[in-house]
């Protein structure tokens, strides 16, 4: 094994013997004969394993153990003590010691314990490293953007993460409600516990109850074995209940009871199981409207909406669109091993002109598709879906986009006279609508008379492009 073993024992003869046995196996040791010195060497020597005696002259061994676990939770501690200390040994195991070797010690047992502890420490470090890798970007960093609207939401989520409060995340579909819930979990004290997500609207009605609360064997046809529900799976962590507004009335009652009592009763069961779970719910529905309509319980709403947070739609996040688009581009270019590094000015304008009814999720899908479709180094109009390109051709939201500062040209060279832009917009609209002045005018938000007047001014034959029967 690599790494040193720290021996903490006030009996010099015991320190000599343990050091001798480990040295014979090629294991380096460092020794301390007081608890205080042991704690100092833990910091200075960064041992792979600690072998700790219980009866120390200055600090009780249990306290030394607790302080070691706090200072270096990844360093495994093996207790080495006489059999008469069994009660204390139990306490040590509760405090996080990985093993106990009784004195007088058996050499083979001691070596196996130290090696197992070292292996466990290595595995633990590996698991933590992988978990960090896995959770990278799961905190608030996953909520990309710097718009005031997003900053306000993130500020609220941070406050929620620092507490145990029940959170209701509201927002349109695709705004990132689950990302927000994961961020609250990842940044809170429950981060090492499970995060269990359940979309209440995506599970067949008859199965929701069993999914949420579990079932006992034989509870219903097909229940061949007992099964834990999502609440039990989330014990010690967070349960995320998406589309909570889809929950039927009877399940709303059961959920309310769980939130009040913190116990779940499996379907077909008689006993209850205690659950220590943080609840984050989400909805894209107007829950208050549902309450008014009698479709959602008001008492459940107040249980869930202790701390409501609204995730803004993408169209309200000024300046975030291209930041998100570039972040997605980098992610998908790496994932799909595509040499795409940016967007052409036209593609950029198209993205900015689109209204993004599907919000961040829609943008994410559009960019992933474009990364795969694009043959050049920058995503061009040809790689974007028709719905996005058409928005540019129709020029639909140019005015609000400019007002929001999102579709400003990337360079001075791209600035054209307003009338020219206007002409281009109207002609494209006519082209896109097959020459229908009526539809082009409606889509542009201007009157038919204005379209005719402009065409006339530009020297285009009146009605030349029109196929409208009524014109």
């Amino acid at each position: 094994m690599s790494g040193k073993v720290l021996l903490v024992d006030d009996d010099p003869s015991m320190l000599r013997l343990v050091a001798f046995e480990l040295d014979r196996e090629g294991i380096r040791t460092v020794s301390a004969n007081t608890g205080k010195e042991g704690l100092r060497l833990l910091e200075e020597e960064e041992p792979a394993v600690v072998v700790l005696d219980l009866l120390l002259p200055d600090i009780p061994g249990t306290e030394v153990l607790a302080r070691m676990r706090k200072a270096r939770p990844g360093t495994p501690v093996v207790m080495l003590t006489v059999r008469s200390d069994l009660e204390a040994v139990v306490e040590c195991m509760r405090l996080g010691a990985v093993d106990y070797v009784p004195k007088p010690f058996d050499r083979t047992r001691l070596l196996a314990s130290v090696r197992n502890a070292a292996e466990r420490g290595t595995l633990q470090a590996r698991v933590e490293s992988l978990a960090r890798e896995l959770h990278r970007g799961e905190g608030f960093a996953a909520l990309v953007g710097d718009s005031p609207a997003l900053r306000r939401a993130v500020d609220l989520l941070r406050r929620a993460a620092a507490s145990e409060v029940t959170v209701l995340v509201e927002g349109e579909s695709g705004t990132g409600k689950e990302v927000a819930a994961r961020a609250v979990h990842a940044e809170g004290d429950r981060r090492t516990g499970p995060f269990v997500a359940l979309n209440c609207g995506a599970i067949p009605e008859g199965l929701v109850e069993s999914e949420l609360f579990g079932h006992e064997r034989g509870a219903f046809t097909g229940a061949v074995a007992a099964r834990r529900g999502r609440f039990e799976e989330a014990d010690g962590g967070t349960i995320f209940l998406d589309e909570i507004g889809e929950l039927k009335a009877d399940l709303q009652v059961r959920l309310l009871r769980v939130l009040q009592e913190r116990h779940v009763q499996r379907v077909g069961g008689t006993g209850t199981h205690a659950v220590d779970v943080r609840v984050i719910a989400a909805t894209n529905r107007d829950i208050r409207g549902a309450i008014a309509a009698g479709a959602f319980r008001e008492d459940l709403y107040y249980r869930l909406a202790v701390f409501p947070v609204v995730i803004p739609p993408l169209r309200d996040r000024e300046g975030d669109l291209m930041v998100l688009a570039v972040a997605f581009l980098r992610r998908f270019a790496e994932r799909h091993r595509r040499p795409v590094a940016g967007f052409t000015p036209e593609a950029r304008r198209a993205l900015e002109a689109h209204r993004w009814p599907g919000n961040v999720r829609e943008l994410e899908n559009v960019v992933e598709r474009a990364v795969i479709m694009e043959d050049g180094e920058a995503i061009s109009l040809g790689s974007l879906p028709d719905a996005v390109v058409e928005a540019l051709q129709a020029g639909t939201p140019e005015v609000p986009a400019l007002a929001g500062g999102r579709s400003l040209p990337a360079s001075r060279a791209e600035i054209r006279p307003l009338e020219e832009e206007e002409r281009r917009c109207i002609l494209r609209a006519l082209e896109a609508t097959g020459g229908s002045v009526q539809e082009a005018a409606e889509r542009l938000g201007i009157s038919r008379a204005t379209v005719y007047r402009k065409l006339e001014r530009w020297g285009l034959a009146p009605g030349a492009g029109s196929t409208d029967q009524e014109e």
Binding site: S13, K103, D106
Partner: protein, 116 residues
């Protein structure tokens, strides 16, 4: 508990380690006897008592680890006797037996003349 010495039970370095333990154990056993002599009429208490218990506890753990289970046996009796507030004469008898076990251990590891 028998200590399993593995491949180094004949290792001179290990044998020297055992001799060192026995020499120290004899000194510590004598210290225990000295503590009992200074306690008139009752079991050792306070600092002296703590010292008595600590030595007994350490010999209890180390004796068998060095391959001397009888040392562990009597040291354990001494520690338990102290914790049970046993009569000092009983404790003295146990410490006497402990010293005997240490001397026996000295003979086993080839210490020719253990001091009296």
């Amino acid at each position: 508990m028998q200590h399993r010495f593995g491949s180094h039970h004949d290792d001179p370095e290990f044998q020297e380690l055992r001799r060192e333990f026995v020499r120290e154990a004899l000194q510590r056993t004598r210290e225990m006897a000295g503590i009992l002599e200074t306690c008139a009429g009752g079991p050792p208490r306070d600092e002296a008592g703590m010292r008595f218990r600590r030595i007994a506890h350490e010999l209890r753990g180390a004796g068998g680890s060095y391959g001397f289970p009888i040392v562990t046996l009597y040291a354990g009796d001494a520690e338990d006797g102290y914790l049970d507030a046993a009569d000092p004469r009983s404790l003295a008898a146990i410490v006497g037996m402990l010293e005997g076990a240490v001397r026996q251990a000295g003979a086993l590891v080839g210490i020719p003349d253990m001091p009296r």
